[in-house]
Symmetry: D4
């Protein structure tokens, strides 16, 4: 006897406050269609959805997806309206980090959480960060997106009292090692209490921020 | 011209809400004494202070240290009194993880933050965790301390809506790779939004929890 | 003097109960044709055979192959009829693991061994696994297919008394490290006696299960 | 509120057929004593218990431990009497592998399972293995213990039809990389269906063998 | 002042008995043409020359190249006639290793050295190697080409008294790690005195064999 | 509120004597256009700009770029005229290293610094280096570009009294590990005081040389 | 015939301006005595000389060594008198870096080069560095000594125009990976033209600084 | 049934021309005594035998061992008398390499093969090697022993026509990575046909040289 149905974790919203997110990279159009059809009227967050993969879906499904190309993210079905003031700042070191920071912005938007996004303030030109640091400080949570040596989360972690979530980025070559240097560097940040998510994982950083804002049950 | 003074970051408390913590491992008695003397009436948190290193300090300094041997941590000078109810749960997979979870407990105690500590509920005997999960859920933040395959943070992250901070542990041999397997495993947790600190870094996990509770400025 | 003939291990069936399996990835059409022609009337299991590679074979050979696209596996020549009840359960954490679990299913089918296949029961939504665990337990052997943190084999290994064979999966990015994190995590599972095969090696897991069922000579 | 009791998984025997095993390396005498006292009349298998650690326990506890020094294993409390004929062969490449193969033998003995132990038949002197191969073949399961290049499990896997469990060994220097070379080598064995446990994990190999012999529920 | 001429090591033949070999992978057609034109009437061995790269050269140069596609090697200009009987055996574990073993054969041919080539005698079917071992033994040097666990060089090293040169192969996936497992495995071979060259380096193995046959000056 | 402007570090020239350099690899045409437009009349150095990416820019921007294909570098806007005699020698081991050495040459040219470029003097044919060593020695700084075993910086470092900057190269396969072997080898050079930049980082080596020539403020 | 004499590179001073430096770690007292005796009236710089190793030398040799315990360095024989003003600044992130920065200071002292030493100005408390940055800038060369995430060389490299030599430090645990994280982080510094020496290699950094100051011949 | 006898490969001498060599590191005195007693009148080569381990043997066995402390090697029983002229040169880069080169010398001595030993000719002082290169060239085989960047085998491989066997050495710190940098560097030597043995494996290099001199059967 063989059984192979897709089984969505529909209890997740009640349990955790999150819908299931579908990592689309590596899934065939047929596979994705099956998931979306099973979702029915439930909303889903789609991550790493290439524009080609979007086009390969049946038009009836494509029409229901609110797509953003830089982050390659899609909202399937209706999402929450933004509410309240921004409690989360998302800060990037360079313009190449935008694809990941945007994924975090979009994930927050899916759950109706506004944020402040500041880009291109890497520490090689420290004055750029210093111009904005008081503004950043007023937020409960800072998501610091940085590749290479990932000096940004350390400097921010030394200046900002709230939760700092580092997102290492896979850009760079050679000793950047596909983002592992930024990952390890963030994990041993000289600033106390910086936390880290997986390389390029803007989605995970946003979920962590939402968890921190919501607290327990 | 050569200058070699110890320069404590005394502005840290005002800036971040943290005092400087001194990682004592690898520092000589003379070096530690110099730091403590410079601190004067300021309080300091001492981490990874071996009992031998404690004894090697001048008695006048030793007398001012509140030492806890399992975590190898010391409070130099007065610390905050505990206030409020516990908002943080600290959960460990096995009894060998206690040296690290205790470091987190002690760091929270230094800053007056009470917590719930639950040990020995690794997923190999899942019923032990299930007995306590409703209690854990009521806390805003869960620190999940686990080595080896670090399945615990994933299972907790799938059951608990608040912030989950994974602390990978260096126990184990062979493919445990000094805790790197637990570290990487936690970073790719199948549960959304789990954040991670360095291997064995109970201190960092506690600081992150404090950051999350305090929010911005 | 130079000699370059293909030399199939035709004694393998008598010795081990296995036919030679041909890993087709990286072999040219000419190379594969040569192997199939030398096989003659003997049956062969073909793994990692891309649909393009299948089409590139001479039609007379293609016609003799029973192909399944998800697992990219082919049966060359007649295979055993299924016999008896399923003694092996194949369980996957997510839908992306199906290409590998299907390879295991197909390998068992080649040798006439039925199995139970359960997909999408990863521990991030633990209730899905718990619904099926009594059913899984009744099988002598469980093949647990999981990538990322590979928490599934640990949880199953803590609930199921029979042999648990973990198959790490290469999906994921960053700290997933092409499946090495799942591999190491499975090797240090907190459940006793979980065994492991190579990353993505559904074929090997099935062979191991067959070995365990058959016993010695 | 802080809670720190040891919590043994006493349901494990009913659930899996295994008692909890205590990895003693890295645990203090006080920690071990606490565990043994909590066990009460239950039996426990102690692994990696150095003779010094054994001596450091209270005499009343030491007296209840059946200790074997080569494997550094101890039986706390009564164990099963051996029953039936050996269905498991344990084969080692060199004499340095004995500390690990003996751990497997002892684990089997704890559960009353007899085995055949053959040592020093590494493939550098292939005739030694060939002299014994027919005898090995008659067993349902072979545990192949080998370090360095781990050629032994591959050669046995090509000659023996039953389940082959490779145990990589950490001996050797340089490119042996603490057993990782043997581990990876075993995982990519050219023989089909060889399964692998963690480096030096004789205990895990024995548990896997017991799982395979017992089957499901 | 800037100077950028190609500077061939034309003294190499006199010094070492080797012509310069050109690794063509990664070099543009213009770059290769420049090298061949500078060579003039001197002969050169071309390695890793894709058929496309061959076609991209000016026809006058292509016409002077004796090309072999499996090894992707080319002889530019006249080469030595074969002399004497074969003193070198080249043995491969599987048919996928042929692209590398052929590179060794071609390098020997360039220098007029005949060899015996035996393929597909991996240790998973040990009888295949045993059938040929006496023949192999009669050669002064054996080049053993094997990927995955590289058990072949160990087994040969335990049976053959002459120099054994292991060539690790990059085939395989997961724990094969692009040939590093075969490389490390060969370096820690349990047979004494096996030497190793870089992964996939058939050219280097042949040069080493020629060095061993020629001796010093 | 979301803000996403590109923010060039325009103070860099005054602060460090460098303009911002744009690493073009991985940036879209739209992204690059935005950067160039924001630069306005300021000059920029463009690195890793593929010829295709150059063509994809708006013609008005392309027209303002002085492009060199081997190094894939572009000068946007006017650059400094060369002044003085060469104080920097750039030496490469093989012709494959030219793409990186040329990047260094171009970076120096952007800032008006002449240099001596010597190629193809790897230590496998030591006489080629020895012919030029007196000439190299007369320069204050030597940039030694070498992949594989990176023996060149060591030999130069033992012969030349000035600053030696090693640039490891990613060429090679297998144990070359994408340039990490050259990187580590350069870092542990047996010659005293050799310094190292990232793999393939000709730009960084040139900047370091310019820093050394200019000194402090 | 066997020859085993120590062969000092006495031409090094004339060729490079350096005397041979003796890395004492791992050398026996007999071995060190042999070297010092062969040196005769020549001066030598001794690095990594433990105080115990110093005591184990014959008193006549010990008496000729000017020893400094923090850096574990010794001057054997007379050294140069300091001349001129400091052109080199040595800056450390934390007090634990002093053992390495002191090795650099001592190496410079051996060659008569004065320097400015500033410690404990890591970026977690950025104000400490900012207080001193104008002073640092006035030096031609900055040696930046930092472990963990090595954010210090990046921040300095973005503020200082002269040569910046990063010395990664092996302190820290877990993801610090014995200094490899600091090493890789320094190599991919977001500031242009930072150069790097081996982990903990204060000696090498000083030699590089001397090379840069002296220039060519 | 359990069997645990030591089983020496006594056929090895007839098959390969080698006696079994006993790697003594990690073996207990009882274990070693058992091996030596079983050897009886056969000779054995003992490697990595610490002087303490030697003393711990029964005096009757110690008395039969010809011990050399630098290489930590012992001859148990009579060995071959040296015959003929040296056909093997053993060359080291630094004096710290002597413990490994001596192991090679001793292994050759055990089999009666004389050799030329030249030490301390690393390429940082190239003139030292150049003084001896003509002498080295006259030998059929050169064993090049070098750690760190292992530039020595590359330079020798470019100057010497005979077989060059590189022995990487584990000395050094940081980026030396316990000898892996020297190992990988040797494997990608820019000189053609250099072969490599495991890190610190002087014994293996000597065996390879003996294999090359003896040829086949």
């Amino acid at each position: 006897m063989v059984e192979r149905d897709i089984k969505l974790d529909r209890e997740r919203r009640a349990r955790l406050g999150f819908d299931e997110a579908i990592l689309c990279a590596g899934k065939s159009a047929a596979h994705l269609s099956g998931i979306l059809e099973q979702a029915g009227e439930d909303s889903l967050l789609l991550t790493r959805l290439d524009s080609q993969a979007l086009e390969d879906l049946p038009p009836a499904l494509t029409a229901r997806i609110d797509y953003e190309p830089l982050s390659r993210s899609g909202f399937f079905g209706p999402v929450a309206a933004p509410t309240g003031t921004a409690e989360i700042a998302i800060v990037t070191a360079g313009t190449s980090d935008a694809r990941v920071s945007r994924e975090a912005v979009r994930t927050l938007a899916y759950y109706g959480a506004p944020c402040l996004e500041i880009s291109d303030v890497g520490v090689a030109g420290l004055w750029r960060l210093m111009e904005r640091i008081e503004e950043i400080k007023r937020h409960k949570i800072t998501i610091a997106v940085a590749g290479l040596d990932a000096a940004l989360p350390s400097v921010i972690g030394g200046l900002v009292p709230g939760l700092v979530i580092a997102v290492p980025i896979s850009t760079g070559y050679g000793a950047a090692r596909g983002g592992e240097t930024a990952l390890f560097s963030s994990l041993v940040s000289c600033a106390p209490g910086v936390v880290v998510v997986n390389i390029d994982n803007g989605y995970g950083a946003a979920c962590a921020a939402l968890r921190a804002l919501r607290g327990g049950k």
